[in-house]
Amino acid sequence: MTQDVTVPPIAPPPESALRDERRADRLDRIVGTVQRQGALAVLVLVAAIGFAAFPNFRSLANAETILISAAPLALIALGMTFVIITGGIDLSVGSLYVLGGVVAAYASQWGVLAAFLAPLLLCGAFGVVNGVLVAYTRMAPFIVTLAALLGARGLMRALSNEGSETYLVRSEAFRAFGSGEFLGLAYPVWLALALFAGGAVLLGRTRFGASVYAIGGSEDAARLMGVAVRRTQVNVYVLSGLLAGLAGAVNAARLGSGVTVIGVGVELDAIAAVVIGGTLLTGGAGTVAGTIAGVLLLGVIQNLINQVGSVNISWQQVISGAFLAVVVVVQTYLTRLRRIQ
């Protein structure tokens, strides 16, 4: 398909210029690596401290606890990663997560398949509405998904009799999914791992992923370059809604009921995990691998604070918040460094 264009020979640039180019290439690569892998490095560091300081942290059982409690947040954060890279935000995922849990528990009376499908359909539908409004009316994602947050919360309350009724999971198979293990890891952890692998391929190795980055980098340029901007936007919000619903289902399976009182502020935890994982809040850059590191970092911090015991649990949020602030400052600095050279 390439056209054969002969370009007149160009005098090679002076050696000094080439040297500068190579130096710039190298610097850019280093800064890029720090941006992408910073969260992983911090995670390893914090885990190492935990290993040295707390005997209980070292146990395999504890590692499993960290993973299983991180799984729902991981799923939500995966969808959020896509949304944020397009330059958007999805505030509705916290409500959808709770709604998904309630619906899954309720639908479990019709079997395990229904318990998964019902929340996926309902939360996916919320995602479609979010996506269509963002893409076609050009309303701010912040506003659109805030409305969805309220709507989903209202729906959840209506379904659960003002939150007072807790549906128990009726399907044995569904409950078994929440508590069972395979090769020492809980099923939800396997699910999260599989979806993250899929997400990494989708974002990094497909044309859809390329469109996601392009839109976040510059929506106007993306449109002029022939990217199907609106379709891609709808897709990322649907993905985010689906994953939030799935996270709710996973949580319901694990707890054995559709708990109505959780989930406040989960959307903010997810955003924090994504940003700590190196994704730019302004869009255009980020990775799925970084998001895993971000989610685990939050989980490990929480776990360590539980180990200390005497510290109030609220400190977890203070520490996570501090991490977030540091990450944002460092990101800004690194982005500028790349620009200036």
């Binding site: 056209q3 264009v5 044309r207 390329a210 510059s218 449109r223 730019l280």
Partner: protein, 515 residues
């Protein structure tokens, strides 16, 4: 058969009739120049042709068939490749990703084959003189290199029509040659090309036909050869040939009166590890000093260093005898240095604010007394700059982001001039600005110099540099290699100094090797 054609097309934006009953036809294998003042409607016509805008009225025909492209993608699929004027690529994505966006090579599983993509990107780009790691973020490349990537992207696919909206505005002469090589090649293959530029020399070098737009209407269309340059300008501006002739090539009047011997700007020993190796510069009040040299000589870097936008390892900058202590952009502005940077997209104007608000932002510190500002005073200043620079807007309250590319440049320039600085650093001040307004900008620079400002001018337009500057300091690889004074300030003088420096450097290099 006509390749691409519009008939009776109109397009209205709130407050402006951007296109008014425009007809335009592109034949296969012709390079068709589309010219007109800033805001004449060139970019709008291109956007109507390629599905970015839908025309209010009129028809688009492509290879004889009526078409209606809903999106730029439809136009691309049909074989129309476009380099748009402002945004073309995504700065945060890698060079290779930008080049292949939407047509990435895929492996048997349907996944993007990154290795092949990077290899092919590197191959393609070396032919365009871009030698860089293609995995780098595009935004970290020089502007010219970015533009070459956009060019490569447009030409890579099997296009029947290639449209270029001011492709050369951020290119250096060497890169322009590459572009022309590509255009000649496309021409030989029978591909139709639409070419927009404000640099008239280029049009006469490369174009066969010309269509002139004025205020959204076609005022002339025909072979370019038969059209005298001065007549082209008079048609564009809608003024008499005699009047145009009298005004001459540039708006500069020649020598300036240098006031006082004390330099208003003195920079000494500017060093930045890779770019500058000890540059000295002194500008007296009322003097316009040009910086000459080739691509990579360190002209823009010198300006940025003085303006606090490039970190320095060593060196001092004094304004009116007082050394700058804080070496930041803010510190420089406070000291009275105004910098018009080369890359206009990143900084400068606020697109979502109006023309008036943008200019007001710049003059507020100067006009406000006890936090109060006279609205009337602002209106007067805004009015003055809008008429002087011929900023074409439906009103002072129009959003800057909706102005034509050239008019955005003018607002940026107005903002800078309105700050009443002591030192003005201008990097390519007339880039993207039409011939009429160009002379106005140059006259304005003259006037400011006469008021006692010190001006440093960088321009890839040799005429502008020679006629505008009283003195030209020639740079090469980040060092000063000569200064042209008085009668020496001429194109020949400039070329001679650059050539002498090159051969000196070459012989120094051979000596080094020999020893």
């Amino acid at each position: 058969m006509t390749l691409l054609e519009v008939a009776g097309v109109s397009k209205t934006f709130p407050g402006v009739r951007a296109l008014d009953d425009v007809s335009f036809a592109l034949q296969p294998g012709e390079v068709h120049a589309l010219v007109g003042e800033n805001g004449a409607g060139k970019s709008t016509l291109i956007k109507v042709l390629t599905g970015v805008y839908q025309p209010d009225d009129g028809a688009v025909r492509y290879r004889g068939e009526p078409v209606s492209f809903g999106t730029p993608l439809d136009a691309q699929r049909a074989g129309i490749s476009t380099i748009y004027q402002e945004v073309n690529l995504v700065p945060l994505m890698s060079v290779a990703r930008n080049l292949f966006l939407g047509r990435e090579p895929r492996n048997a599983l349907g996944l993007v084959d990154e290795r092949r993509m990077n290899r092919e990107a590197a191959d393609v780009l070396t032919r365009y003189g871009v030698r860089t790691d293609v995995r780098r973020q595009l935004g970290t490349l020089a502007l010219g290199a970015q533009q070459m990537v956009a060019l490569a992207r447009a030409v890579m696919v099997d296009a029947k029509v290639v449209i270029m909206d001011e492709p050369t505005s951020s290119l250096e002469p060497r890169e322009v040659e590459t572009l022309f090589g590509v255009i000649r090649d496309l021409h030989a293959q029978g591909i139709g090309i639409v070419y927009v530029s404000h640099r008239l020399d280029e049009l006469y070098q490369i174009c066969d036909r010309v269509t002139i737009l004025r205020d959204g209407r076609v005022v002339h269309t025909g072979p370019l050869e038969e059209l005298e340059r001065i007549r082209l300008v008079s048609l564009m501006l809608g003024r008499d040939m005699a009047e145009v002739r009298r005004e001459g090539v540039t708006g500069f009047t020649g020598e300036h009166e240098v006031q006082g011997a004390q330099p208003v700007l003195r920079a000494a020993g500017l060093r930045n590890r890779h770019k500058l190796h000890g540059v000295d510069l002194a500008v007296r009040p009322g003097e316009v000093v040009g910086l000459g040299g080739l691509l990579g000589a360190g002209r823009s870097e010198t300006l940025k260093a003085i303006g606090g936008a490039l970190p320095l390892d060593e060196g001092t900058v004094e304004v009116a005898g007082a050394p700058l202590r804080r070496r930041t952009s803010v510190g420089a502005v406070k000291a009275g240095i105004a910098l018009l940077p080369e890359d206009r997209k990143a900084e400068g104007i606020v697109p979502s604010l109006s023309v008036r608000e943008n200019i007001a932002l710049a003059v507020l510190p100067r006009l406000s007394r006890l936090g109060l500002v006279s609205e009337k005073k602002i209106d007067t200043i805004v009015e003055r700059f809008m008429t002087r620079l011929r900023i074409k807007a439906s009103s002072p309250h129009q959003r800057v982001g909706d102005l034509s590319g050239g008019n955005q440049q003018k607002v940026l320039l107005a903002r800078l001039l309105a700050t009443a600085p002591k030192v003005l650093l201008l990097d390519e001040p007339t880039r993207g600005i039409d011939v009429g307004a160009k002379a106005e900008v140059q006259a304005l620079v003259d006037e400011l110099a006469a008021e006692g400002l010190g001006v440093v001018l960088v321009s890839s337009d040799a005429e502008e540099l020679i006629e505008g500057a009283d003195r030209v300091v020639v740079l090469r690889d980040g060092v000063v290699v000569g200064t042209l004074d008085g009668a020496d300030v001429s194109t020949e003088g400039l070329l001679r100094t650059i050539a002498a420096a090159s051969s000196a450097a070459a012989s120094a290099a051979t000596q080094e090797e020999a020893s």
